[in-house]
Symmetry: C2
């Protein structure tokens, strides 16, 4: 419980508070390739130079920790992608994916951890699905607009194709960011952009 009469310690604090230390240590361990599921609280605390009991006075459990970490990557990638719209054209779409890929490379370990936990924990899965939802909604809207303007075939099922685009695209980007060579990022981004462009937004009329 925070005091009402005192300001919280470490106001501009050099002596990094334990909570921030734990967050940073976890990120560090993830960057080093550790699996979040398999790393213990003990291990995290050792890396943070903090007592194990201190961990539990800041986080309810490991799920709470990963959820707190999730907050850090709100926006960024989503903002980048949602800035693009069909009128910007194919080249700008490829550029957008290249930027997203850059962001994903930075955040890769953390994103990996989140999807990792999301596969078996409901609360994390829900948080993550919600992050994707805003993106899904926007894509559906964009496709419908293109259809009304006659630039995309009216026969496209916007909802179904959005599943292909968002779910599939996200996974492909994650895969490239984790397993692919950074030198190939530009080529990959271009291919992803062209596939979507000619396969969806400018698909030839049936």
């Amino acid at each position: 419980m925070a005091s009402t009469t005192r300001r919280r310690s470490a106001q501009v604090g050099r002596p990094t508070t334990a909570e921030a230390g734990i967050l940073a240590a976890t990120r560090r361990l993830l960057v080093n390739g550790a699996s979040f599921t398999e790393m213990g609280v003990q291990e995290i605390c050792a890396e943070a130079g903090v007592a194990r009991s201190t961990f539990y006075s800041h986080f309810r459990d490991k799920i709470d920790l990963i959820l707190r970490l999730t907050t850090d990557l709100t926006g960024s990638a989503f903002e980048t992608t949602t800035a693009w719209e069909p009128a910007d054209g194919l080249d700008r779409l490829a550029e957008t994916f290249e930027n997203v890929l850059r962001i994903y490379r930075d955040q890769a370990p953390l994103r990996r951890a989140i999807t990792e936990v999301a596969t078996y924990d409901v609360s994390v899965r829900e948080v993550w699905a919600n992050e994707l939802k805003q993106f899904t909604d926007r894509t559906i809207e964009m496709i419908r607009t293109e259809q009304k303007a006659g630039r995309a075939p009216a026969t496209i099922d916007a909802v179904a194709v959005t599943r292909v685009v968002v779910v599939g695209g996200e996974q492909a980007i994650v895969d490239q960011a984790t397993a692919g060579d950074p030198a190939d990022d530009a080529v990959f981004a271009r291919e992803l952009a062209e596939t979507w462009w000619y396969g969806v937004f400018r698909r030839p009329p049936g």
Copy 2:
């Protein structure tokens, strides 16, 4: 150690051996929506009506169990997809995806469990990646063939676009199979097929 003088029991055996019982029980629990990571050995044995010690005389640990389960879905989906080739055209591709979706719906719980464990266990991840590899290799080959025949643009980077197609496509199918309405399967399959067809195999020349 198996006897050399006696044949192994249960040769055609009705009295279902404990091992098969455990395998079946695990599958049953997965179908009921349980998370493999979160279900204990105790739980599995209770469902199988088997002593916990018996589990360990058949499986080294839970990873061994999931690996043994993986064997069950060799082929099937892969065989179905690799049967298709570009000469068969768009309609047949849509049909193929519909079939794959049917298979995935049957195997969904097991596949979910495997990808679940694959996110944090190396051995499972390797086995799974190897399953996908044969599919990846074939796709790259198909695209190159189309390029040589002048039916697909020579500018396509076969390796990069295959990542988009295989990794992204697999995930989209899994998502539709787990979260999508079965009634929408045909529409989804059609959209996936058209996206690939016009976005990759028959992408307009740059």
